[in-house]
Symmetry: C2
Subunit: 393 residues, 2 copies
């Protein structure tokens, strides 16, 4: 481009973010991002790294030494986990019950792995019996599952049962906790998860850019004893270990500001208390759920595996998903999202995450959604949502 | 970790960053980072993406459609370029004259490529005759060179001659412009560079986290006609094309805040004018160079390939690099760095980048450095630096 383009001051609209993420960011986290930088090898930054790692361990409920933010968005942390733990020729077992199991498969193949599947329909969790059968049939080396499926709003129950099956077959377990970390009960150590990754822009309410990852010693032993290096240099955990471990050796320039933000977001988690934070998400999302159900809308997943942080609501007859989504954005500066993959056009995805998981947002969402459904002619009677939500609190 | 760790408010020291990056960030860019987020698929964010891409084209001096920020630090943009352009079994020619040529080699191998070398000592640029010989000997498919070698302070001259040689052998050219983009003359289109990547935290003075990459049609045609997908899903440019191209389809959650920051940093480039910005770097770094030379210190590279943005200064007798670096940090809150690889312990690396490339910082650096050298007993007479710098302006 020859001449400087005329680009004005940054003035994005002031949205209320109640979609699948990013979620609303706490003002303290935004303010942390305007802090002048220190160098990524500065002794002061090393202290900040240590603190951030401690705070991450607290949120993950783990003592894992190898707990760090990966320098990229959640998918980078995901590929760091899968690309390092799946060696060429190995087999990874992945689920078919949502969008992100499919992404796991794609990453395992890129790593040189073979992919086998354990089936469940979109909108349902895995059945441990099916996982057991898949292990018996395929003897996979690595098993990936999605704890909180952002595409379907399904929470995987019975995690300790899944990890028990995997470990009895000497497989490592990788958990996608993108939409659970910091909002939904997750116990990496108690549940014997070998590796877990997350995104910061969901229940941690932190801007994306540095993404939580934790590996236990079994997982890290495998990473450090690979026959061939991982296929990405940027995401090679044996090299990242040099930077985030005791050595603090230069690998790449850490995204300093994103680490500042993550540290502040995790401080808010620590101040609230992780169990109290899970309880808040259940309580506030429970009100949201009561409200939309009182409006005649239907939640996609059963109560047994409802995911408080991401509510998949069936699109009612008489309206389209995009009609409602656009109406909410244009009239209310409010973001919710539609479905992905098998559920494209079938559901709304309404987030209740982190700083967004507040009663005021439930009231706002239900009011705005009632107007949208009414104005656009949905075959439901949207009155009564607010009252039901209030009653549930 | 069982209990929440006691981590206090974020209060990093207030450093003046005159090392190899990150460089000092302009207050307008820091402020942009405290802007509340919109969603990564919001129509308003699509406009912001368009504007950022236009501004990047201006800075790169290119009309390339495929010009985008990669969601990671400079090394992620580097691996996106190399990992997509080098197919398994292909040969990449890389230089041996610095740290980052070595990183190119490592990434090319991870991509499944063979690596061949064109030799030059650390601290010198490539000789086109040697590049010609290497092409004749090895017929590589891809040629990588480092326009601005952050480890040695060497600027590669004669770039059009290098690209001519490569194209006469039907090879694609990848340029590392990490430490030149926005500070040192760089003309992607006029110089016929096929792909170039950079870091935002150097001469653009933007926090790391979203990193510039540009590819011309020849390079993108190769990416889109690969026999096998690239080995990283996260950095697969054929998928990123879906998000940053016309389709705007979901791939991963873009680091919204880092894009805000990059857009603001690039607006500052456009307001100043890219050629004026190059001239400022030459003028201010020239004063720095005059100053340190007047103090009896020696710049590592010859004047013909001096890199204004990164000044490699020989450590004088009587002091150690770490002694001086620690002194400046502890007494002046001032960051400079030491050498890497072959030049470890041999040089100081003093950045003059972006918002850091100001006369006030030259005066501060020379004053502080004179004190450090004097106090620590260097075999030089550090008087006279400031006067020489002032005279050169």
């Amino acid at each position: 481009m020859e001449n400087p383009p005329g680009v004005g001051e940054l003035t994005p609209p002031d949205r209320t973010l109640l979609g699948p993420g990013p979620s609303p960011v706490h003002p303290r986290v935004l303010r942390a991002m305007s802090t002048p930088l220190v160098g990524h090898l500065d002794p002061a930054f090393v202290d900040i790294m240590d603190e951030t790692q401690d705070l991450l361990r607290y949120a993950f409920r783990t003592e894992n030494e190898w707990t760090l933010p990966v320098s990229g968005t959640g998918s980078a942390a995901m590929e760091a986990a899968i690309g390092n733990l799946v060696e060429p020729g190995e087999t990874m077992l992945v689920p078919t019950n949502g969008y992100f199991g499919g992404r796991m498969a794609e990453m395992a193949r890129r790593a040189g792995g073979e992919v086998v599947h354990v089936d469940a329909p979109w909108g349902e969790p895995l059945d441990p019996a099916d996982v057991q059968d898949a292990f018996d049939a395929h003897q996979p080396d690595v098993f990936g599952f999605v704890h909180a499926e952002t595409s379907t709003g399904v929470r995987q129950p019975q995690v300790p049962e899944l990890t028990r099956i995997a470990h009895s077959h000497d497989a490592l377990v990788v958990a996608d906790t993108v939409t659970s970390l910091g909002g939904v009960e997750l116990r990496v150590d108690d549940w014997n998860i070998d590796a877990a990754y997350a995104g910061p822009q969901k229940c941690l309410s932190c801007p994306p850019g540095a993404s939580p990852l934790t590996l236990n010693d079994d997982a890290m032993d495998k990473v450090l004893s690979r026959d061939t290096p991982s296929r990405s240099w940027y995401l090679d955990l044996s090299l990242l270990e040099g930077y985030w471990g005791d050595e603090r050796a230069y690998h790449h320039t850490a995204p300093v500001t994103n680490v500042y933000a993550l540290r502040e977001a995790l401080r808010l988690v620590a101040e609230e208390g992780i169990e109290e934070r899970w309880a808040r998400h259940r309580r506030v999302a429970g009100a949201l759920k009561s409200g939309v159900e009182a409006m005649g809308l239907e939640l996609e997943p059963d109560d047994d595996y409802w995911l408080p942080s991401l509510n998949a609501v069936r699109v009612p007859d008489g309206v389209t998903d995009t009609g409602v989504i656009d109406y909410l954005r244009d009239h209310y500066d409010l973001e919710i999202a539609g479905g992905l993959g098998d559920l494209d056009g079938e559901i709304f995805r309404i987030g209740c995450m982190g700083h967004g998981a507040r009663e005021k947002n439930v009231a706002f969402l239900l009011t705005a959604l009632a107007d949208a459904l009414d104005s656009l002619g949905a075959d439901v009677d949207p009155a009564g949502g607010i009252d039901a939500a209030r009653d549930s609190l």
